[in-house]
Symmetry: none
Subunit: 252 residues, 2 copies
DNA sequence: AATCGGATACTGGTCAAACCTTTTTATATG
DNA sequence: CATATAAAAAGGTTTGACCAGTATCCGATT
C-alpha cells in the first residue's frame, strides 16, 4: 500500500499525483505552503518535508520568498531519461544480459548454479499462483546471473536496467500488459538458459538469453499492435457518435 | 560556494561529509535528531529536513522510534560507485560497447558515418598535441557509436559508463596511467571499428570493438603489474633503510 | 538462576503559533 | 510615466509541546 507511515510521504505522493495529472503544470507554481497544509489537513512543517523531498528528487525548485515551481519534464529514473520505451529497454536488456549470461557461463560457481536451480523451482511452483511471486523469482533469476559474472559494473548496470523496468511508468505498464502470457514458454526459456550455464557454454547461454528476450519483444510488439487497434476502434466509435446525424435529426 | 541559502542544505552537506568520512559508517545509526540539532546549532525541524533529503537520496533509512540508519554504499550507477575497478569497468565496456557497435552497424546513417570520419581525423591530428583533445575525440567517437544504435537505453548506459570512467577516482587514475601509451595502435583500432561500421558488418564491428578493449585491458594489467612491482621496490627500500645498521653505527 | 513481563526512557512523528527574511505587488510620489 | 517606498505574500526558522512506536532494564515469576 502506498499509504506510508510517515505523513509527509502521503503528502508527497498526493503532490506528485497532482503534478502528474497536470493540476500543477511544469513551470507553474505550487500553492503556498500554508494553503497546502490546510488542503491536506496537515501542518506546515509536514508540507515542507514533502516539498523538500520533491526538491531532492528534482521535481520542483524552491525560490525563497517567491514560491515552489514545478520543473519541466524532470522525468528521470535513476538519472536516466524515463522516456525510454519498453522496446528500447528490452533490446538493451537482450544485448547486455546476453553478454552477462555468456560471461557468467565461464565464471559461475556450483553454489550459484544450485541457487539458480532453486529459483527455477520457485518459478515453476508459483507460476499458477499470483504473478507477484513469479515476478520476484524472475528478477532473482536474472539478478543471480548478473552476479555470477563477478563483475560489479555488470551487476550495477543490470540493477539500473531493472530499476527502470519497475519504475518507468510506460515500461512498467507495457510489461504488465504481457506478464501473464504463455507462462509455460517462459519457464522453458529459463530452463534453457540454466542448462547452458550448467554446461558452462557461453555461446549457448548467450543464445538462450537472446531467445528469451526475443519472445518478450515479440509479445510487446503484438500487445502494442493490439493497443493501437483498440485505440483506432475507440476513435472510430467517437467519430461515429460525433458525426452521426442522430442529434441533428433529434433536434429537427 | 557550499554555503547554501537554506539552512537544511548546509546541514545536509555536513551530514553527507560525516558519512563519507566514516564518522557514521554504513549500517550504523545517526545521532538523535535533538542531538544533531544541538551539534549544528539549528532547530530540530531543520535537522529533520536534512534527514528527509538524505532519505530521498537513498543515503539513509529512517526507522520510527528507533533511529536513522546509514545505508551501505549506494548501488546507484550514477554518483560514482568507487568500488568498481578499472578492470571491471573495461570488461563491461567491452561487452556492452561491443554489442552497441554491432547494433550500430545495422542502424548507422550516412551522416553519422561522416561524423565519425570527422572525429577520426581530429583524433589523428591531435594525437601529437596534448592528450586532452585526443581524449575528447575518443569520447565523441564512442558516444557517436552508442547514438547510432538508435536505442536511448543503450545511450543512457553508455553515458553512465563513461561518467564512471571520468569520475571514479580509482578508475580515472588507472586510465590516466595508460593514456599516453602507443598512440598509433589506438588510432588503428578506431580505424578498424570505423571500417566495420562503414561496411555495416555487425560481427566485424563487434570484433573490432572487442580488440580495442582487449588492448586497453592488457595495458591496464601491465600497468597494474608495474605498479605492484614499484610498490614492492619501495617497501624493500624502506625496509632496507629501517633495518640497516647505518644509524646504529652512526650513533656508535 | 533463568525467563518473562511490564514500566520507563528514548527516538522519531506531528502539530501549533510565532517571528524573520526575501520577493512581489501595489501605491504614492516625483 | 518612472521611480521609490510601503504593504502584502511567500518561504525560512525557531520554540515547545505532545504523540506513537521502540528499546531497555529491572523486578516478579517460575
Amino acid at each position: 500500500m502506498p499509504s506510508e507511515k510517515r505523513l509527509y510521504r502521503s503528502v508527497l505522493i498526493k503532490l506528485e499525483k497532482l503534478i502528474e495529472e497536470g493540476e500543477y503544470p511544469p513551470g507553474g507554481r505550487l500553492p503556498p505552503e500554508r494553503e497546502l497544509a490546510e488542503r491536506f489537513s496537515v501542518s506546515r512543517p509536514t508540507v515542507r518535508e514533502a516539498i523538500i523531498a520533491l526538491e531532492a528528487l528534482d521535481r520542483v525548485e524552491v525560490k525563497t520568498g517567491s514560491g515552489v515551481y514545478v520543473l519541466d519534464t524532470p522525468k528521470r529514473v535513476n538519472g536516466v531519461d524515463a522516456s525510454i520505451s519498453a522496446f528500447e529497454l528490452t533490446e538493451a536488456r537482450a544485448l547486455i544480459e546476453g553478454e552477462a549470461a555468456a560471461l557468467a557461463a565461464t565464471m559461475i560457481s556450483d553454489e550459484q548454479l544450485a541457487a539458480l536451480e532453486a529459483i527455477m523451482h520457485e518459478m515453476v511452483d508459483e507460476s499458477e499462483d499470483g504473478e507477484l511471486l513469479s515476478e520476484q523469482a524472475d528478477q532473482k533469476f536474472h539478478q543471480m546471473i548478473s552476479e555470477a559474472t563477478g563483475n560489479s559494473m555488470m551487476i550495477a548496470v543490470f540493477n539500473s536496467l531493472w530499476h527502470i523496468r519497475d519504475n518507468s511508468p510506460a515500461v512498467h505498464a507495457a510489461y504488465q500488459a504481457i506478464c501473464g502470457m504463455e507462462p509455460q514458454s517462459r519457464v522453458d526459456e529459463h530452463v534453457e538458459i540454466l542448462d547452458a550455464l550448467k554446461q558452462r557454454d557461453p555461446k549457448a547461454a548467450r543464445e538462450a538469453m537472446h531467445n528469451h528476450f526475443a519472445r518478450i519483444l515479440n509479445k510487446l510488439i503484438a500487445a502494442n499492435e493490439q493497443a493501437h487497434i483498440d485505440e483506432i476502434r475507440r476513435k472510430t466509435r467517437e467519430s461515429r457518435e460525433r458525426f452521426s446525424l442522430n442529434h441533428l435529426s433529434a433536434g429537427a
